[in-house]
């Protein structure tokens, strides 16, 4: 796999300016999209489609902290599929279990409790993402691996919570 960061002319670090990534992605995909090549020869169409696919794939990978972390860990030689199958730290799992229960009973919480829970889940996610970035950028692969596994859990919980929140707003 070629260096995904290089495609966007960005340094290969976890901490990137996501807005710059997005702007560069937009410029690149607008440039390479097959619709720009409908009048070109079949060869040029094929080359453009391939590059457009690469760009979409790279953007998808780099724009989300979990997949960006996975990519950087893979580059550092970590098999993330193996990592996913390893059990997380039991204390962390217990904490996470408690939060999950709170999220599931979200609708029965009063306003203050609900706001606290939302803050807590979001804070944990961002905190872990930042810690993952620090470890990755310091080449501490072991610590980064643990943070990445935790970030996966936080992400799932965050998704669940956001969905609950959205449903509440629409009601």
């Amino acid at each position: 796999m070629s260096d995904l960061f290089q495609l966007f002319d960005l340094p290969a670090t976890f901490s990137i300016d996501e807005r710059v990534l997005e702007q560069r992605y937009q410029a690149l995909i607008a440039h390479c999209h097959p619709d720009r090549f409908t009048a070109a020869s079949a060869l040029e169409q094929r080359v453009a489609a391939k590059r457009a696919a690469d760009i979409n794939d790279a953007y998808q990978t780099l724009s989300h902290p979990v997949s960006r972390g996975r990519y950087l860990l893979e580059v550092a030689g970590v098999d993330t599929q193996v990592l996913e199958r390893q059990p997380a730290d039991s204390e962390f799992l217990f904490d996470q279990l408690m939060r999950r229960e709170r999220v599931q009973e979200f609708t029965s919480l009063d306003d203050t409790e609900a706001a606290e829970l939302v803050d807590d889940v979001r804070h944990q996610y961002h905190h872990t993402a930042t810690a993952l970035g620090t470890s990755l950028d310091a080449n501490d692969v072991a610590a980064a691996s643990s943070r990445w596994v935790e970030l996966n859990y936080h992400q799932k919980l965050l998704d669940e919570l956001e969905q609950t929140l959205n449903r509440q707003v629409s009601r």
Binding site: I29, A30, H31, T38, N56
Partner: protein, 620 residues
């Protein structure tokens, strides 16, 4: 509005001859065709009834009758009259609810039983597309160079492939399958009028399908962030509910097919009447014993509310998926959005007044025509790029009947992804690749797109083989899957065809018979096509060499020029195979050059943004 004096229209407006691109909205209930010249866009009346061609084909006679003519025969020969074929595109008999199965023959692929024999939904759609295109060409006295056909954003791969097949059978050159909501946004010019950025929702309640899409417009890029909806929910269902209400009011049961159609006609009239007034009186000569009843807007709202709520629930899912904070514009598409209760519900849900100044029945065809004009080669070069996404996740069956997702839903297109697998047993020489589409975890809850076997894997111990399965989805959303055992380069691949669709040979046969090519014509056509392709390659390469020859070494340059000469020599003959072979060879020889040029142009595209990005961050 201040007007400027323009130059008079002269035929030689451009150095390059303008080409004709047509936009087609292939709808469940009605279909439309439109053209655009970049400034003006107009619908083309192709049916005695006007702009809307009823998506109905009658197969009672020697030749299929399409549109209003078919509708007229529907009462006399309902069994031979096929409507709503779009609902069954890319589907098998198992997918069809029991109550609707009577019109189909028992055999696969799924086909309507008519006097003229079994007609698959693909063939019915092809008859509609052919009628639209041929009539439009007659009206314009001009051949179309290409068409854009719209599909619901929610259409899965089978349904898109089926639509594509229908266009192939109709003999059309498809520039692009365009998602209906994207077309609607283009019709409103939202792809060009939003200069900064904006989030749009397109709420499309058509006759037979409901679609909700969230799009983001930013810097010349119109991107679908999320799509959702229901391929089996639409205005027809409201008609059914009203028809049921009428049948209840009149205490009718045991209706004949003709009576059912009459009841639905009355229901549709009532629905349309209620967009203009608060109550509507229904009476019919077909049911003389039934007294006239008045249906009020409140009754309609009560009847339709569960359905509207269902659409709003889908809207919520799409908004969740898109992770957007607010919606700046809402576009209404589909005749059913004329219902005041729908408009009110949509406005309340999204918190902004929906755009509805363009006729909601025509807006998709208009957008398709605008895009067809750009894609056919009349664009200005700075037109917005319409970036579509996969509506559903694509994946593979893995151990234990589970689905492993390879391409998640809402991935921007085109996209290519690969997944590595290995053998589970010692000396395993084959592997079944089962391709699925859907969000659920279990195989039986997803749609099976294709199943093929990678065979001839050399015997190895379990886990030693490295099998890479690659998924490629093109800009039209069409999937191609291939599998390679990497240690030995054993290969297998296929373009995913709808499981219950038509084979390539069947499509080719239909195309031939539909165009009634004599064998001689076919050869001439093939020769012309081969020459056109060869010329495009040669011209493109000439341009590339004059711009970027410095990307080649002297040897590479010599080699390319020699290949070019060989192709030119082949073109001097009438040998189709030689032209094709030489085109292929030149293509391969210039692939690396084309890639280097693309990379160079990518770098230049980036250097522009690098400065923008700096400027943007410094203003915060």
């Amino acid at each position: 509005m201040l007007l400027q004096i323009a130059e008079p229209d002269t035929p030689v407006e451009n150095m390059r001859p303008r080409r004709l691109g047509l936009g087609i909205d292939l709808g469940t209930t009605n279909s439309l065709i439109a053209r655009s010249d970049g400034k003006d866009t107009s619908l083309i009346a192709v049916d005695s009834g006007g702009m809307l061609l009823p998506s109905v084909v009658n197969y009672s006679g020697d030749i299929p009758l399409v549109g209003t003519a078919a509708l007229a025969l529907a009462v006399r020969s309902p069994e031979d009259t096929v409507a709503s074929a779009k609902r069954y595109m890319g589907r098998s008999l198992d997918d069809v609810p029991l109550s609707e199965r009577s019109v189909f023959s028992d055999s696969d692929p799924l086909a309507f039983a008519t006097q003229a024999g079994s007609k698959t939904p693909v063939e019915v759609s092809a008859d509609l597309l052919r009628t639209l295109a041929q009539s439009a060409e007659r009206v314009l006295s001009e051949k179309a160079d290409g068409v854009v056909v719209t599909v619901p954003a929610y259409f899965d791969d089978s349904q898109r492939q089926a639509t594509r097949q229908a266009a192939d059978i109709a003999g059309l050159n498809v520039l692009r399958l365009l998602n209906e909501p994207t077309a609607a946004a283009v019709a409103y010019g939202l792809d060009t009028s939003i200069t900064e950025s904006g989030v749009l929702a397109v709420y499309d309640l058509g006759g037979g399908t409901f679609d909700i899409s969230i799009l983001k417009m930013e810097r010349g890029l119109l991107r679908v962030l999320a799509t959702g909806g229901d391929t089996a929910l639409g205005g027809d269902d409201i008609d059914t509910l009203i028809a049921d209400w009428l049948a209840d009011s009149w205490v009718l049961d045991e209706l004949t097919t003709a009576e059912q159609r009459e009841l639905r006609r009355l229901a549709r009239e009532a629905k349309e009447g209620l967009t203009l007034a608060d109550d509507y009186q229904v009476a019919s000569a077909v049911f003389p014993e039934a007294r006239a009843v008045t249906i009020t807007i409140d009754t309609l709202e009560r009847i339709a509310t569960p359905l509207i709520q269902k659409t709003l629930a889908a809207c919520q899912l799409a908004v969740d998926d898109a992770s957007v904070e607010r919606i700046d514009q809402v576009v209404l598409v589909g005749g059913s959005t004329r219902m005041p209760s729908v408009q009110a519900a949509v406005q309340a849900f999204f918190g902004c007044e929906p755009l509805c100044s363009i006729n909601p029945d025509q807006v998709v065809a208009i957008g398709a025509a605008i895009q067809a004009n750009v894609l056919v080669g009349n664009g200005s070069g700075d037109d917005a790029v319409l970036l579509d996404v996969t509506p559903l996740s694509l994946g593979l069956e893995t151990y234990g009947g589970l689905v492993e997702k390879v391409i998640p839903r809402n991935s921007a297109l085109p996209i290519a992804k690969a997944q590595d697998f290995t053998t589970a047993k010692d000396s395993q020489t084959g592997l079944i690749v089962h391709v699925l589409q859907g969000e659920r975890e279990r195989v039986e809850d997803c749609r099976s797109l294709a199943r093929f076997e990678l065979s001839g894997i050399p015997a190895m111990v379990a886990g030693a083989a490295r099998i890479r399965v690659s998924f490629k989805v093109d800009a039209d959303g069409l999937l191609e899957v291939s599998a390679v055992e990497e240690t030995t380069q054993t290969e297998a691949s296929l373009v995913v065809k709808p499981s219950f669709g038509l084979s390539d040979d069947e499509v080719a046969d239909m195309l031939r018979s539909s165009q009634e090519f004599a064998a001689g014509d076919m050869t001439v056509r093939q020769l012309t096509e081969a020459r056109v392709e060869a010329e495009a390659l040669l011209d493109g390469l000439d341009g590339a060499l004059s711009a970027d020859a410095d990307l080649l070494t002297a040897t590479e340059l010599d080699e390319l020029v020699a290949e070019q000469q060989r192709l030119r020599a082949a073109m001097g003959t009438d040998d189709v195979d030689a032209i094709r072979a030489q085109t292929q060879q030149l293509g391969e020889a210039s692939l690396a050059f084309a890639e280097r040029r693309m990379d160079r142009s990518i770098k230049s595209a980036l250097s522009g943004v690098a400065i923008d990005a700096l400027a943007a961050s410094s203003t915060d």
